[in-house]
Symmetry: C2
Subunit: 100 residues, 2 copies
Amino acid sequence: MSITLINVFTVAPENQQRLLDLLTRATDEFVCHAPGFLASTLHRSLDGTKVTMYAQWRSIEDYEAMRRDPGPLPLFQEALSFAKFDPGIYEIVRTFSAPE
Amino acid sequence: MSITLINVFTVAPENQQRLLDLLTRATDEFVCHAPGFLASTLHRSLDGTKVTMYAQWRSIEDYEAMRRDPGPLPLFQEALSFAKFDPGIYEIVRTFSAPE
Protein backbone atom coordinates (compact mmCIF):
# COMPACT_ATOMS: atom_id res chain seq x y z
CA MET A 1 0.00 0.00 0.00
CA SER A 2 1.32 3.46 -0.87
CA ILE A 3 2.01 6.06 1.81
CA THR A 4 1.09 9.73 1.95
CA LEU A 5 3.48 12.46 3.05
CA ILE A 6 1.86 15.69 4.24
CA ASN A 7 4.67 18.15 4.91
CA VAL A 8 3.61 21.52 6.29
CA PHE A 9 6.10 24.41 6.11
CA THR A 10 5.52 27.62 8.07
CA VAL A 11 7.07 30.80 6.65
CA ALA A 12 6.95 34.54 6.86
CA PRO A 13 4.55 35.71 4.12
CA GLU A 14 7.34 37.60 2.34
CA ASN A 15 9.18 34.25 1.95
CA GLN A 16 6.25 32.13 0.75
CA GLN A 17 7.03 32.54 -2.96
CA ARG A 18 10.73 31.83 -2.38
CA LEU A 19 9.79 28.57 -0.64
CA LEU A 20 7.37 27.62 -3.43
CA ASP A 21 10.15 28.22 -5.99
CA LEU A 22 12.65 26.06 -4.04
CA LEU A 23 10.23 23.16 -3.59
CA THR A 24 9.19 23.34 -7.25
CA ARG A 25 12.83 23.20 -8.33
CA ALA A 26 13.67 20.32 -5.93
CA THR A 27 10.68 18.33 -7.17
CA ASP A 28 11.22 18.99 -10.89
CA GLU A 29 14.95 18.29 -10.80
CA PHE A 30 15.23 15.47 -8.25
CA VAL A 31 12.21 14.25 -6.27
CA CYS A 32 9.90 13.28 -9.13
CA HIS A 33 12.68 11.20 -10.68
CA ALA A 34 13.31 9.21 -7.48
CA PRO A 35 12.36 5.51 -7.41
CA GLY A 36 8.95 5.06 -5.78
CA PHE A 37 7.73 8.65 -6.24
CA LEU A 38 4.11 8.51 -7.45
CA ALA A 39 2.67 12.06 -7.43
CA SER A 40 2.57 15.25 -5.38
CA THR A 41 0.67 18.50 -5.12
CA LEU A 42 2.12 21.79 -3.89
CA HIS A 43 -0.18 24.20 -2.00
CA ARG A 44 0.11 27.82 -0.83
CA SER A 45 -1.98 29.03 2.08
CA LEU A 46 -4.18 32.02 1.34
CA ASP A 47 -2.85 33.85 4.44
CA GLY A 48 0.73 33.56 3.15
CA THR A 49 2.11 31.73 6.22
CA LYS A 50 2.16 28.11 5.03
CA VAL A 51 3.26 25.92 2.14
CA THR A 52 2.18 22.27 2.13
CA MET A 53 3.42 19.44 -0.06
CA TYR A 54 1.03 16.48 -0.29
CA ALA A 55 2.79 13.48 -1.84
CA GLN A 56 2.21 9.80 -2.57
CA TRP A 57 5.13 7.37 -2.43
CA ARG A 58 5.29 3.62 -3.04
CA SER A 59 6.89 3.04 0.38
CA ILE A 60 8.49 4.81 3.30
CA GLU A 61 11.83 3.25 2.32
CA ASP A 62 11.64 4.94 -1.11
CA TYR A 63 10.91 8.31 0.50
CA GLU A 64 13.74 7.95 3.00
CA ALA A 65 16.19 6.98 0.23
CA MET A 66 15.31 10.23 -1.60
CA ARG A 67 15.86 12.24 1.59
CA ARG A 68 19.38 10.78 1.78
CA ASP A 69 20.14 11.68 -1.87
CA PRO A 70 22.79 14.45 -1.93
CA GLY A 71 21.22 15.97 -5.10
CA PRO A 72 18.28 17.90 -3.62
CA LEU A 73 19.89 18.35 -0.18
CA PRO A 74 21.18 21.92 -0.73
CA LEU A 75 17.68 22.99 -1.83
CA PHE A 76 16.08 21.42 1.28
CA GLN A 77 18.76 22.97 3.50
CA GLU A 78 18.13 26.40 1.98
CA ALA A 79 14.38 25.97 2.54
CA LEU A 80 14.91 25.02 6.18
CA SER A 81 17.09 28.10 6.74
CA PHE A 82 13.98 30.31 6.61
CA ALA A 83 11.00 27.94 7.02
CA LYS A 84 9.83 25.66 9.82
CA PHE A 85 9.16 22.08 8.68
CA ASP A 86 6.46 19.87 10.22
CA PRO A 87 6.50 16.47 8.48
CA GLY A 88 3.89 13.73 8.63
CA ILE A 89 3.80 10.18 7.26
CA TYR A 90 0.29 8.82 6.80
CA GLU A 91 -1.92 6.11 5.44
CA ILE A 92 -5.30 6.94 3.93
CA VAL A 93 -8.20 5.86 6.15
CA ARG A 94 -11.10 6.82 3.92
CA THR A 95 -12.18 9.04 1.03
CA PHE A 96 -15.50 10.92 1.06
CA SER A 97 -17.39 12.35 -1.92
CA ALA A 98 -20.40 14.58 -2.17
CA PRO A 99 -23.54 12.43 -2.63
CA GLU A 100 -25.16 12.47 -6.08
CA MET B 1 -11.46 28.02 -8.42
CA SER B 2 -11.93 25.49 -5.62
CA ILE B 3 -10.03 25.73 -2.34
CA THR B 4 -8.19 23.07 -0.37
CA LEU B 5 -8.46 22.67 3.38
CA ILE B 6 -5.59 20.81 5.05
CA ASN B 7 -6.51 20.43 8.70
CA VAL B 8 -3.90 18.75 10.89
CA PHE B 9 -4.99 17.40 14.29
CA THR B 10 -2.42 16.38 16.90
CA VAL B 11 -3.48 13.71 19.40
CA ALA B 12 -2.17 11.28 21.96
CA PRO B 13 -1.74 7.93 20.15
CA GLU B 14 -4.34 6.28 22.41
CA ASN B 15 -6.90 8.82 21.12
CA GLN B 16 -6.12 8.59 17.39
CA GLN B 17 -8.86 6.05 16.63
CA ARG B 18 -11.41 8.02 18.67
CA LEU B 19 -10.62 11.12 16.60
CA LEU B 20 -10.84 9.16 13.33
CA ASP B 21 -14.26 7.86 14.39
CA LEU B 22 -15.52 11.35 15.28
CA LEU B 23 -14.33 12.91 12.02
CA THR B 24 -15.78 10.03 10.00
CA ARG B 25 -19.14 10.47 11.70
CA ALA B 26 -19.13 14.26 11.25
CA THR B 27 -18.28 13.91 7.56
CA ASP B 28 -20.78 11.11 6.82
CA GLU B 29 -23.65 12.74 8.68
CA PHE B 30 -23.12 16.44 7.99
CA VAL B 31 -20.05 17.72 6.13
CA CYS B 32 -20.40 15.78 2.89
CA HIS B 33 -24.01 16.95 2.55
CA ALA B 34 -23.08 20.64 2.92
CA PRO B 35 -23.43 22.92 -0.13
CA GLY B 36 -20.08 23.32 -1.86
CA PHE B 37 -18.39 20.23 -0.38
CA LEU B 38 -16.54 18.44 -3.20
CA ALA B 39 -14.42 15.63 -1.69
CA SER B 40 -12.15 14.82 1.23
CA THR B 41 -9.64 12.24 2.37
CA LEU B 42 -8.97 11.26 5.97
CA HIS B 43 -5.42 10.23 6.97
CA ARG B 44 -3.85 8.65 10.06
CA SER B 45 -0.16 9.17 10.77
CA LEU B 46 1.85 5.99 11.14
CA ASP B 47 3.31 7.23 14.46
CA GLY B 48 -0.19 7.62 15.94
CA THR B 49 0.15 11.33 16.81
CA LYS B 50 -1.67 13.00 13.91
CA VAL B 51 -4.89 12.86 11.94
CA THR B 52 -5.17 15.02 8.81
CA MET B 53 -8.26 15.84 6.76
CA TYR B 54 -7.53 16.98 3.20
CA ALA B 55 -10.66 18.49 1.65
CA GLN B 56 -11.76 20.31 -1.48
CA TRP B 57 -14.53 22.91 -1.29
CA ARG B 58 -16.12 25.07 -3.96
CA SER B 59 -15.37 28.26 -1.96
CA ILE B 60 -14.23 29.48 1.41
CA GLU B 61 -17.74 30.86 2.01
CA ASP B 62 -19.21 27.34 1.63
CA TYR B 63 -16.70 25.93 4.11
CA GLU B 64 -17.34 28.70 6.62
CA ALA B 65 -21.12 28.21 6.35
CA MET B 66 -20.64 24.52 7.23
CA ARG B 67 -18.50 25.46 10.24
CA ARG B 68 -21.38 27.61 11.51
CA ASP B 69 -23.92 24.75 11.07
CA PRO B 70 -25.09 23.61 14.54
CA GLY B 71 -25.43 19.98 13.29
CA PRO B 72 -21.78 18.82 13.42
CA LEU B 73 -20.75 21.31 16.11
CA PRO B 74 -20.97 18.88 19.10
CA LEU B 75 -18.76 16.40 17.21
CA PHE B 76 -16.16 19.10 16.44
CA GLN B 77 -16.28 20.32 20.06
CA GLU B 78 -15.75 16.79 21.36
CA ALA B 79 -12.78 16.36 18.99
CA LEU B 80 -11.22 19.62 20.16
CA SER B 81 -11.57 18.55 23.81
CA PHE B 82 -8.71 16.05 23.32
CA ALA B 83 -6.98 17.07 20.05
CA LYS B 84 -5.07 20.16 18.95
CA PHE B 85 -6.33 21.62 15.67
CA ASP B 86 -4.06 23.36 13.15
CA PRO B 87 -6.15 24.49 10.17
CA GLY B 88 -4.96 25.71 6.78
CA ILE B 89 -6.77 27.15 3.77
CA TYR B 90 -4.88 26.72 0.50
CA GLU B 91 -4.88 27.00 -3.23
CA ILE B 92 -3.09 24.43 -5.38
CA VAL B 93 0.07 25.81 -6.99
CA ARG B 94 1.11 22.79 -9.05
CA THR B 95 0.76 19.03 -9.39
CA PHE B 96 3.76 16.79 -10.15
CA SER B 97 3.74 13.26 -11.58
CA ALA B 98 6.46 10.68 -12.02
CA PRO B 99 7.82 10.92 -15.59
CA GLU B 100 6.90 8.11 -18.00
